[in-house]
C-alpha cells in the first residue's frame, strides 16, 4: 500500500507542471494580458473543481454546497486584510480550517440523506449561508469587504502591474490540489472512497467506516476549496456574499467537473480548459453582437455537450483512445 506506483500519468503530470512553471519565463506570454487572466482562471477553476471531485467524483456525494466553503475561505483572507489589516496568509489558513470544520459539522447530519435529498440539502445550506452573511455586519454584510490599495508582492499577495505573481499562486494551488488528489487516489482513502461510492453497504460490510471516510473526504475537499476562495478574493480585491457564496458559484464546481469527467483525475482540468476560455472569450468578444449572446451560446454548448457525450470530455477521450479498455474510474453516481 505504501509504495506509490509510478504511472504513465505521473509522467504526463510532471511534464505539464514543468511546462506551466516555465511559461512566464517566455516574455510576452503572461505579462499582464487577458490571456494571463484566462490561464489563471483555468488553473483556479480546475483546482476548485478538483477539490469538489474528491467528494462528488470519488465519494459519490453530489454537493451543491461547495461555494459555502469557497466563501468561508474568501472571507478568511478578506477579513484578515480588510478588517484586521494583516497580510492574507493567516486568513488563508484560518479560513481553510474553518471551512473544514463547517464542512464536517454540516455534512455529518446530511450524509444520512440519499441522492437528491442530499443535493437539495446542500442547496439549502448555500442559500442559508448566503442570506446570513448578507445581514451579518461583522463580515461586512451586504456591503462586502473592499481591499485598500496595497503594495504589490508576496507579502500582501496582490499584484497590479503584472500577473506573474498571481499566476504562480494559482499554479501552486493547482499543484497542491492535484497532488493531493493524486495521492489520495493511490492510497487507502481513495480506495475506501470509491468503495463507498460503488456501494455503501458492501463497503461497510468489509469494515469500511463509510461515514468517517466521507467526512474525511468532505473536510479535505472543503479545506482545499477554501484555499481557492482565498485566492479568488485576493485576485478580485473584493468579497461579498453573491460573489462567492451563491448557487451560481456552486454550479461552476459541478459544471466544470462533469463536463470534464466526473471521478477522473484529469476531468476537472479538461473541463476548466474548455469551459473557462469559452466563458471568458465569448463574454469579451461576443457582447458586441447583443446583450446575452455569450450566455445564450454558453448555454447551448452545455446542452449540446450533454446530449452528445454525457460522460464529459473524458468520455470523448476514452472513447477516442481505447474503445475496449474502460478506465477504472467511471462516473456512476446514483444521484
Amino acid at each position: 500500500m505504501k509504495t506509490t506506483r509510478f504511472q504513465q500519468r505521473d509522467l504526463v503530470w510532471g511534464i505539464l507542471v514543468l511546462l506551466l512553471a516555465v511559461l512566464p519565463l517566455i516574455p510576452g506570454v503572461i505579462g499582464n494580458s487577458f490571456r494571463a487572466h484566462v490561464l489563471i482562471m483555468v488553473l483556479l477553476y480546475a483546482s476548485m473543481a478538483q477539490s469538489w471531485n474528491i467528494v462528488s467524483g470519488y465519494a459519490g456525494q453530489t454537493s451543491f454546497g461547495h461555494s459555502v466553503f469557497f466563501g468561508i475561505g474568501a472571507y478568511g483572507a478578506g477579513m484578515a486584510v480588510v478588517t484586521y489589516g494583516l497580510t492574507p496568509w493567516p486568513g488563508f489558513l484560518v479560513g481553510a480550517l474553518l471551512a473544514a470544520v463547517v464542512a464536517v459539522l454540516i455534512s455529518w447530519p446530511c450524509f444520512r440523506l440519499s441522492g437528491h435529498y442530499f443535493a437539495i440539502a446542500t442547496f439549502a445550506i448555500v442559500e442559508i449561508f448566503n442570506r446570513l452573511f448578507m445581514v451579518w455586519d461583522w463580515v461586512g454584510g451586504a456591503l462586502g469587504l473592499d481591499y485598500p490599495i496595497l503594495t504589490d508582492g508576496w507579502k500582501n499577495f496582490v499584484w497590479s502591474q503584472t500577473k506573474v505573481g498571481f499566476y504562480y499562486g494559482a499554479l501552486a494551488l493547482f499543484i497542491l490540489i492535484f497532488g493531493i488528489v493524486r495521492w489520495i487516489e493511490t492510497h487507502r482513502l481513495g480506495y475506501y472512497l470509491r468503495a463507498v461510492r460503488e456501494g455503501q453497504e458492501t463497503a461497510e460490510s468489509l469494515g469500511v467506516n463509510s461515514t468517517a471516510v466521507k467526512l474525511a473526504a468532505m473536510a479535505f475537499s472543503a479545506f482545499l476549496a477554501a484555499l481557492c476562495g482565498g485566492f479568488f478574493v485576493q485576485y478580485n480585491y473584493r468579497v461579498d456574499p453573491p460573489m462567492v457564496m451563491s448557487l451560481e458559484m456552486s454550479m461552476k464546481f459541478v459544471l466544470i467537473t462533469i463536463l470534464g469527467g466526473l471521478g477522473n483525475f484529469w476531468g476537472p482540468l479538461l473541463g476548466a480548459m474548455i469551459l473557462i476560455p469559452l466563458q471568458e472569450y465569448t463574454r469579451a468578444y461576443l457582447t458586441v453582437l447583443g446583450s446575452g449572446v455569450d450566455l445564450i451560446i454558453f448555454g447551448l454548448i452545455i446542452v449540446l455537450m450533454m446530449i452528445k457525450q454525457p460522460g464529459g470530455i473524458m468520455g470523448i477521450v476514452t472513447d477516442f483512445g481505447a474503445r475496449r479498455r474502460r478506465a477504472g474510474a467511471r462516473p456512476d453516481t446514483g444521484v
Partner: protein, 286 residues
Amino acid sequence: MDIFAQVMIDGLLTGMLYALVAAGLSLIWGVMDVIHFAHGEFLMVAMYLSFWLGFVGGIDPVISWMASGVFLFILGALTYRLVISHCIGKSAMPPLLATFGLSLFLKNFCMNRFSPNFRILQDTLLGGKTIMLGSITIGLPQLVTGVFSVTMLFALYYLIKKTRLGWAIQATAMDREAAELMGIHTDRIYLLVFGLGGACVGIAGGLMTSYLAVHPEVGGLFGLIAFLIVALGGFGSVPGALAAALIIGMVEALAGFYIAPVFKYVAVFMLYLVVVMVRPKGLFGW
C-alpha cells in the same frame, strides 16, 4: 389577532401558488428522476407568453392561461424529445446540467429578444381587486390562482391515481424496464410527463401576470423554492407537494413578519433541513 390571520392567509395563498409551480416539477422528478433546472425559466416563458397575449392581443390572463398551458406542454415535450431523451440514463448529472444549460439559454434568449425591461399588464380583469373579510384583505388574483392551483392539483392527483394513463405513469416511475415489458411505451410516458410538468408551470405563469411583473430573471427564486417544495414533500408525491407548498408559504409569511423579512427564506431553508433530518425522504416520501 387580525394581523396574525392576515399573515396566515397571505402565506396560504402564496403557498398555493408555489404548489402549482412545484407540481410539475414534482411529477418530472418523481417519474423520471430528473432534476429539471430550467423549471423557473419555463415559468418565465409562460409569463412572457401571457404578457404578450394580453399586451398585443388584449386577452386577459384569466383566459390566456390556457394558451400558456398548451404552449408550455409543447415546450416541455420538445425539451424531452430534443434534450432529455438523449442524456437520461444511469446518472442524474447529465440531464441536470443539460437543463441548467437550457435555463441559461432561455433566460438570456428572452432578455435578448424582449429586453430586460420589467413588464406589467395593466387593467387586467383581476388586477388590484381585493375582497374584504372583516378586516382581512384578500387579493383577488391571488385567490383565483390559489383556487386554480388546488383544482389543478386534484385533477393531477386523479389522473395519476385513477386513470389507466396514471397507472402507466406510476408503473414507469417505479421500474422503467418492467413497465416496458408490460407493454407500456415508457418513452411516450416520459414525453407526456415532461409535457404535463410544463403545462402545470405554464398555467401558473399564465395566471401570475395578473399581479407580477415579467422580466427575464423572474423565474429564479420560484424555481429554487419549487425544488425545495418537491424535496420537502417527497419526490413524485402530488399531495406532498401541496402540503409542503402550504407549509413553506406559511413559514415564509410568519418568519417574514414575526422575525424579519430578510430571514424569511432562511427560515424556509432551515425548515427543510430540519424536516429531512427527521424524515430523510420528505414528508410524503417513501
